[in-house]
């Protein structure tokens, strides 16, 4: 999947993945896509919950070798 911006939040623990994801989303225009990579297990539930609260769409999510990648489309 193509994204407009990539964010590497690997190795960061809660709350930093969300703090950085929010800052990155703030720089995008509506409809653009952010790709974010995290390793913190808590993010697995928190990023979708945060996206839902803000109206952003999770287009895809995959996990490989402990790295979770989200594709988030800005509302």
């Amino acid at each position: 999947m193509k994204s407009n911006l990539q964010l590497d939040a690997k190795g960061l623990s809660c709350p930093m993945p969300i703090v950085k994801t929010k800052k990155a989303i703030d720089t995008l225009a509506s409809g653009e896509i952010l790709e974010v990579q995290v390793t913190d297990k808590g993010s697995l539930a928190d990023i979708p919950a945060w996206a839902k609260a803000g109206g952003h769409a999770i287009l895809d999510k995959c996990e490989e070798a402990g790295v979770i990648t989200f594709f988030i489309q800005k509302a």
């Binding site: 709350p15 539930a45 928190d46 919950a49 609260a53």
Partner: protein, 365 residues
């Protein structure tokens, strides 16, 4: 924190985990007030929630591991509020053990209950004449070995009443570290990959010079091997078969239909043959209301026969339906936890913590 729960103190908890996590599992206290706002909704500031946070009682910010609660607590203190955060978060809360004395035994012995307040697990240590037996130890083995050191007793016997599915047992690790004998019911242990002593009906050991009996009673139903203990003819340790306000569920090893008859037999026949005066000590509690005033979880068997709904379902068909059709969700990662307790999986500490997240859910009400 444990004191606030046990002493029924007042506390305002701002839980900043996401709504699902909060709904699933929180710090229970009789006089606690709660506000759940996920931390990611507070990134732009805490001004909006200030009116909802009291200034006349203690405020504790709670999250999963600490980081987010620290952030929110800092934001609140910048806004002029005095708040605390829970060090280590729900992870540490889940691991905390409070040893509480249940009572004295014949000849100077003592019985202690280790209350894992955050998860609802209960472990036991019987002490007498310089020796100790431990029943249903959780995985924080230091809590037990250092307690035994403080009491100057040698751990001789370690038991699990059954193969646990909701939490990782510390039993065989304590036995390995202390030279104690580790007992497990053989019917639950068909797949285990380590050596153990068989715990069967009538297994009796004496602890210390004062000869306190710890006697096993085969009481299947939660698992096919589930075994209870009578300690000093005074206490009945029921494992996950009978709780204070509920009964064990028969499905966690995948055989609810097969085991429901055993559960009925244990609760309605075998336990009925015991003295009403025995004090029931279960391996779990589900809700904070099951705690006595001193923090222990214990009640007379006769009182449970009168009050526990699960012991008062006259009709066998109805009983079968209640314990097989209306079961709550299963505990987090219960299948993996069983594999760990069989010795087939050896996860790292932080993986063990993840597996044990959430409430124990071993009961059916």
């Amino acid at each position: 924190m444990a004191e606030k729960v046990i002493n029924n103190e007042e506390l305002f908890i701002l839980d900043v985990r996401n709504a699902d996590a909060f709904e699933d599992w929180k710090i229970d206290g009789r006089k606690f007030e709660y506000l759940n706002i996920p931390y990611f909704e507070l990134l732009d500031g805490v001004e909006d929630i200030l009116p909802k946070i009291p200034t006349d009682k203690d405020v504790l910010v709670v999250c999963a591991k600490e980081g987010s609660s620290m952030m929110v607590a800092e934001m609140l203190s910048e806004a002029g509020r005095t708040v605390a955060y829970l060090a280590g978060g729900m992870k540490t809360w889940s691991e905390y053990l409070e040893p509480i004395k249940v009572g004295d035994l014949t000849g100077g012995g003592e019985l202690y209950q280790f209350v894992r307040l955050g998860k609802g697990c209960l472990s036991y240590m019987v002490i007498s004449g310089g020796e100790a037996a431990i029943i249903d130890a959780v995985r924080f083995t230091d809590a037990f070995t250092s307690f035994a050191d403080d009491k100057n007793v040698k751990i001789k016997y370690v038991y699990d009443t059954h193969l646990h599915a909701d939490h990782i047992s510390g039993g065989r690790h304590i036995a390995a570290a202390t030279g104690a004998t580790y007992y497990l019911p053989p019917k639950d242990a068909e797949e285990v990959v380590f050596d153990y002593a068989p715990l069967i009906d009538g297994t009796t050991v004496q602890i210390g010079a004062s000869q306190i009996d710890v006697g096993a009673i085969y009481s299947p139903g939660h698992t096919i091997g589930s075994t209870s203990f009578v300690v000093d003819n005074k206490y009945l340790l029921t494992g996950d078969i009978l709780f204070i306000d509920s009964i064990g569920r028969p499905d966690l090893a995948g055989l609810a239909e097969d085991w429901v008859g055993d559960l009925r037999e244990t609760l309605y026949k075998r336990y009925r043959e015991l003295s009403d005066e025995l004090i029931v000590l279960p391996a779990h509690f589900m809700i904070i209301d099951e705690l006595n005033g001193d923090g222990t979880v214990a009640k007379r068997l006769g009182q449970l026969f009168a009050e526990n709904h699960g012991l008062n379902i006259k009709d066998g068909v109805n009983f079968r339906s209640i314990v097989t059709d209306h079961l709550p969700p299963q505990p987090n990662a219960y299948q993996e936890i069983r594999q760990v307790n069989m010795g087939k999986l050896t996860p790292a500490q932080d993986e063990q913590t993840e597996m044990e997240i959430g409430p124990n859910r071993c009961a059916v009400r």
